[in-house]
Amino acid sequence: MSDVEDAIARAYRAEWAVIVAGLAGRFGDLDLAEESAAEAFATAVARWPSDGVPPKPGAWLMITATRKGIDRIRRENRRTEKHTEAQSMFDVNAESEPVGVIDDDRLRLIFTCCHPALAVESRLALTLRMVGGLTVAEIARAFLASESAIGQRITRAKAKIKAARIPYRVPSDDDLADRVTGVLTVLFLVFNEGYLATGADTDPVRPELTAEAIRLTRLVRMLLPEDGEVAGLLAMMLLSEARRTARIASTGQLVPLAEQDRGSWDAALIAEGHRLVRERLSAAAAGDAPGRYQILAAINAVHTSARESRDTDWSQVLALYDQLVNLDPSPIIALNRAIAVAELDGPGAALPIVDRLERDLAGYHSFHATRADLLRRLGRGEDARAAYGQAIDLAGNAAEIAYLTAKRDSLPS
């Protein structure tokens, strides 16, 4: 890559969301903001190689994009509907602004894209496009959807934001906690789709999605540094991402935590994740009750602190799951808790706990995979074989299917 291309790529990474968010605040129109920002970057691609990279690329891009936006308004409708509309939205924003807790256009943009009145799939696509700067083609690839489907989803979401007047602002203090949870859900889903990608014929891991989720969560963390759940989610992502390469064998098969080569974990990511978890632990000690992401991060921290798998402090893991069950009594969490029970008290103690979850989790591959593993350890080969079969039928991730199949085939006949 040439220096100029590199400068453009870096500016894109650093400035895309700043520019879209700034223009959306100025023009009160996400569509116009997105198109003008895209036009400004296209101009940079055309001009920087001959004119040289401007001394302040971000400022150059913002000015160029703003001019493009004004040009568009003039071109499309000289001082008519659109202009007055954009102008009036801007005025409304200016008036109602003091509500916001933190003053950053990007945060407004994130809250708008993750608004609860939009369908979850729309929030994902819109956030990746407007805040993440991914192209429609990139988003379509990541979610195994067609470009036209993703394009339409984004267009519809933008149209709804405009027609229903979804506000462009940081929610008031009363709503902030709920709305942050909504944002974190979107980021968590992006990460998960990258970490355990669905689709039997695709890569089992999509590092571009995990990386994007981490980048966006870092941004939210920068904007909301006091929020414990944001820190927790970031820590959880970092501690999972650290193990990403160790999770998949060269054969394409999933490697379970206990069998991973711990030397190949990313030490820098783990250190950063542990720092965040320690920060939250001291906040918890000071009376700030941890939410689910902080507890999940702490569980990840216990796992990544063990030098060898057998050094894992399972009683600590179980205590954290107990805490999590109190907060969120969902059957999936109960299932993960049972795995810790199996390590502490043996598979015989865990199996009845898992069996009790069948009614809720019969359609979930991890339920059958967990049961299969317990049955295998209890020497119940035939039952284990059947459970592996059910898990394989339900699993969507290629590496996981390969792992479960190998496990089933290695059962003594």
């Binding site: 109602s96 009145a117 229903a164 007047r165 979804i166 506000p167």
Partner: protein
């Protein structure tokens, strides 16, 4: 910005019928907050008549334009600065009238 707030009832699982006083009190608050434009409860869908005069003669059909388990039981029209304000009011209204609501902006 004006929003049409549709009150949706369900024949299989109707909302309670003792909500009038609470709704009246809520309407008073809508008025004092400057949100109130219009409110009205509707008679049963069976009382509806569909008229189609796009052909040669007007055709009158007894009953609602679509038969469904869920039906429109009443409407509000609210004036609100943005959807967040409308949704906050709607969350409260849904609890008060013990029914599901749809919030839809006017063009």
């Amino acid at each position: 910005m004006q929003y049409l707030v549709s009150v949706i009832d369900d024949r299989a699982d109707p909302g309670s019928s003792d909500r009038r006083p609470a709704i009246s009190e809520f309407n008073e608050r809508l008025i004092s907050g400057g949100y109130w434009v219009f409110a009205g409860g509707l008679a049963d869908p069976d009382a509806a008549t569909v008229i189609d005069n796009r052909g040669e003669h007007p055709v009158f059909t007894d009953g609602p334009f679509v038969e469904s388990k869920e039906y429109l039981a009443g409407v509000w029209v609210w004036e609100a600065p943005d959807l967040d304000v409308a949704l906050t009011l709607a969350a409260e209204a849904s609890r008060i009238c013990d029914r599901k609501l749809e919030v839809r902006p006017f063009q």
